[in-house]
Symmetry: C3
Subunit: 290 residues, 3 copies
Amino acid sequence: MNGLLTLENVSTKKIQEIIDLAIAFKNGKKKSFPNVKMANLFFENSTRTLYSFHMAMLNLGITPIDFNTDCSSVKKGETLYDTCKTFECLGVDGLVIRHGDDKYYNQLENIGVPIFNGGDGKINHPSQTLLDLMSIYENFGKFQGLKICLMGDIKHSRVAHGNAEVMKRLGMEVFICCPPDFADDTAKSISIDTALETCDIINLLRVQFERHEHHETMNASSFHKDFGMTTERVAKMKDNAIIMHPAPVNRGIEIADDVVECEKSRILTQMTNGVFTRMAIITMVLEGNL
Amino acid sequence: MNGLLTLENVSTKKIQEIIDLAIAFKNGKKKSFPNVKMANLFFENSTRTLYSFHMAMLNLGITPIDFNTDCSSVKKGETLYDTCKTFECLGVDGLVIRHGDDKYYNQLENIGVPIFNGGDGKINHPSQTLLDLMSIYENFGKFQGLKICLMGDIKHSRVAHGNAEVMKRLGMEVFICCPPDFADDTAKSISIDTALETCDIINLLRVQFERHEHHETMNASSFHKDFGMTTERVAKMKDNAIIMHPAPVNRGIEIADDVVECEKSRILTQMTNGVFTRMAIITMVLEGNL
Amino acid sequence: MNGLLTLENVSTKKIQEIIDLAIAFKNGKKKSFPNVKMANLFFENSTRTLYSFHMAMLNLGITPIDFNTDCSSVKKGETLYDTCKTFECLGVDGLVIRHGDDKYYNQLENIGVPIFNGGDGKINHPSQTLLDLMSIYENFGKFQGLKICLMGDIKHSRVAHGNAEVMKRLGMEVFICCPPDFADDTAKSISIDTALETCDIINLLRVQFERHEHHETMNASSFHKDFGMTTERVAKMKDNAIIMHPAPVNRGIEIADDVVECEKSRILTQMTNGVFTRMAIITMVLEGNL
């Protein structure tokens, strides 16, 4: 299958190429794919990923088609495969898909156009991982030896799972820091004080209430007290350390209001970089380099 | 009224012209209508028809505007006429409308821009009929003398009702095959074995659960057993016979999984042809030839 | 803050400039802003305002991006500020916002792109006010001395509140006419007969059922009897007087069916003028003149 479904099989060399191209786009490089049309098929809510892909397409001269799931034949029981096949038959040149099923793309082997994974269940979110990497590389100029701590709702986060695997391959040291309920075996767990004092990057994660099971009750204010990024905690971070978050943020839960746009925060930069990263991904796939 | 509302008053000569133009588009013919804007007003769910019209517009250099009914003044009780008049006043050059009311367009006589019927209640779906005809003509090179059987949920199907009338005028022999509950007087009823052994085209129809009345309970597995198109039944069809379906398909009900993309199936071709058919319809209306 | 949030601080000289530019656009003036992208963020239902801004953008060569609130991170609890900041970071050049909160824009002081208010709570709807003024000026060639009566659901109407303030500044005499439940201190109350016999403009307002509190029960037929614009009442109006309504209309409540498109009605003209007004607003903001 063509496209970008997961980073598992993408080499670190190729990842560096994508980041370099994204940075080139940020610095003004232009590319144009006239007469190309791509559809955004989002079966889960999204603001950043959907409109970031949309903007990336516009910047590349590609016509985006936003599929409105709620008013579609999905409501008549149409399968994901049949919806995708329809868009292929209609003549679109690529599909960006977000879907709640883990590795939904395994159903889509017979789709003949590139698929760009905009997030699957709790497993992959490759364009988010790449924009995170671009933001790290832009800041530090390297990956090797950097210490990152993924903090918060690890268990329900496709960002955490996707990022950890690739970051380790790139020579980064990955840790997690969270309440026991949110932990899994993604990486070694450390205390929040150790994280603040030793890590170059604190990668906050959104508490994903909508993915919690019934028994997973969470007390927002005690979470904020124990794991929320506050001005006091920012002050304990290393001088050149940065804060990241894939957003949307839960203000007052994993992050305090006044930290969102503080000097150490790269949260807004990540959104901006997301457009350039997606331009790079689309370009490399359409040109057969990914 | 300008546009394409029903095929009832469209001559067979004109129908052939549309098909010929659609085939020309499929073979690479180009047309461009710069500065033309058209709105898609869909009051019922749709994937194929909506995005097929959308793609047809893009291919013709027309700017599509997809109206989101759910977030509109329709929710404040605005009438269909007032919504359409609004788009006319805003300066759009044409409206594609799907609506649940039979012949909704009778309310729209004072609308001053062309209206393209994307399906009304259980009566008409002219662009679907035309793409079906294009797919038949592309396959057989003629209509005269071909035998077609409409199979399945005839009663709730605007495709069945629209297709039968025109196909008879084009010299085709039309039959129906379905459980007694789904029958009406569209055409002569035949047994499934007769259909398979004698017809050139088996035109499956979607079981339209969402249009069934309360008392019309249907047992999906007994329907599949009695009327579903299975590999065994495909094997009984004539050598050059084909299978059509307007889609979305109910896999395992009117059609088995492995029949959807079998050699005799033209289901994917129909979707592709839909774009070219709609390009032809729009072109002929905008140029005053329809 | 850049953009157009309210007309309170916009001088009557500037208002006249906007109207003059809108009329120039109606007379064929062209402007083009290539590579500009603007997002429509509507948190309340809309047909006219949303698609009118959409058309205005298209007419100016601007790429509109329609945000679908229902499928966005707003559903995950994202704040209005964070949604707007996201679009700024993604690179859009302006935001059109409709939101149910009065003066929602006070939360958006740190947004770095122009904001165009598409309606806030019950307070402002500046582009509607301006298109109303354009329609009046187009008809009478002046404002000074014109008598206007705002008729109907004054209390829940941002159109009434926004229009009255500006019209007084422009030298118009403003009156209201409504049942006691719908009255407020917007302007002096007059009887319907006085309104019909003395006013140059009857500005009907939609009965906004969706904004009524629980206790505000309204009897539609008695409202129509007492305050509805009927053919009989139209006959009592002055020769050159006109009827306006921001629409959507409630046919049979504040206006009778056959009055909507009668000779004195400017309701359709208002919709058409809305596109040109919004083209003027966008142009003046993007060129730094507003």
